[in-house]
């Protein structure tokens, strides 16, 4: 009886969603006025960016994105400071059993493919769906695969923090350069290029590459810290 009710409810919900969306033609404007017209015109005409979401996130609301990156950094720092309570004891991983040779051999070939996909996602952030955050997370999953497959795989925390710092400095520095060469913080000062090219969109690709490296380094650090936390050291 419960299952039938659930199925009926889901069917009703699906019917409602389907009827709602069939009313809107594909690609037709369904909101008459608003700020989106300005955004849509500006992204294609003056900024030459194919992906409107990226243009809004990085260019029109770039300061907000800088804040989001800072929030992520603070969260990672807080997590690290909690888990690193007994720093000298950290380093032993609680592994139930080591991975089989199929997994270790397979992850060797999968790891570069995952890194390539992540780099593709954040380099083409202004052309295709995706961007710095998504690409960084994909790269971090590649490191997670290696950490799960190899018992002794280690990531240098010094290199991670250097990469993270350089990426953060690049983001803030581009913002300051916009203040110097333009009028406001994070203003576009580079040539916008041709629409649908990799080298287009002014500062957007550079910022997204920096964000990608930063997110990848931070999340890899989080994964490494969690995996190397000693199970029994609760304070």
């Amino acid at each position: 009886m419960k299952k039938i009710l659930i199925i009926l409810l889901l069917a009703g919900l699906g019917f409602y969603i389907a009827t709602t969306y069939t009313g809107i033609g594909f690609g037709e404007p369904h909101f008459k006025h608003g700020v989106k017209d300005t955004y849509l015109k500006q992204t294609v005409q003056s900024l030459h960016v194919a992906n409107t979401v990226t243009a809004i996130v990085v260019n029109f609301r770039g300061f907000d994105t800088l804040g989001e990156v800072t929030v992520l950094f603070l969260a990672v720092t807080a997590l690290g400071s909690i888990l690193y309570k007994k720093r000298h004891e950290v380093g032993v991983r609680s592994v139930l059993f080591s991975s089989s040779s199929i997994v270790t051999a397979g992850s060797k070939l999968l790891f570069p493919a995952i890194i390539l996909l992540g780099a593709y996602v954040f380099i083409h952030g202004h052309l295709t769906p995706g961007g710095g955050f998504q690409g960084g997370v994909i790269i971090a999953t590649g490191f997670l695969l290696m950490l799960l497959a190899y018992r002794n795989y280690s990531v240098s925390h010094i290199i991670l923090s250097i990469v993270e710092s350089i990426a953060g400095i690049t983001f803030a520095g581009i913002g300051l350069l916009g203040l110097i060469y333009g009028e406001t913080f994070l203003q576009n000062f580079l040539p916008v290029g041709v629409l649908n090219n990799v080298f287009s969109g002014g500062i957007i690709p550079i910022i997204y590459i920096a964000v990608g490296f930063k997110v990848a380094a931070e999340l890899t650090g989080v994964i490494y810290t969690i995996l190397h936390e000693k199970g029994e050291s609760n304070g």
């Binding site: 139930l96 059993f97 991975s99 089989s100 199929i102 997994v103 397979g106 992850s107 070939l109 999968l110 493919a113």
Partner: protein, 121 residues
């Protein structure tokens, strides 16, 4: 409809049928190994023929779809192997072992030998 479109549509139908059967199998099967069996069939035959059907419908995407198929054929067996092995190592043995039939489980002897070796070390 051209021949390519018909082949693509048939492949899409086969793929969606296998994906449906895979989902049903995950719901119906009794233990992890049988469920993995159903799930891997869904991804290998279902997803592969679905993607190949898309390649037949849009011939300019054919190379990309073949690359995706190679990726699935490479990564799916590894992941299902890792799942089954982790499940076995956590002492969730196949259901048939709870009866009197024990000759099916050749892997158990191997793993027990390995564990004994590790303990001796």
């Amino acid at each position: 409809m051209s021949a390519m479109e018909i082949i693509g549509a048939i492949l899409l139908l086969i793929g969606s049928a296998f994906l449906f059967l895979g989902g049903l199998g995950i719901y119906r099967m009794p233990d992890t190994y049988n469920r993995l069996q159903a799930g891997t069939k869904a991804t290998t035959l279902g997803a592969m023929s679905l993607i190949l059907g898309v390649g037949f419908l849009e011939p300019s995407w054919m190379i990309k779809t073949l690359i995706i198929i190679i990726f699935i054929a490479y990564s799916n067996p590894i992941s299902s192997h890792a799942l089954a092995r982790a499940n076995y190592k956590r002492k969730h043995f196949p259901l048939i072992l709870h009866g009197d039939v024990k000759e099916m489980d050749a892997y158990r002897e191997v793993t027990e030998k390995e564990e004994n070796k590790e303990e001796k070390k």
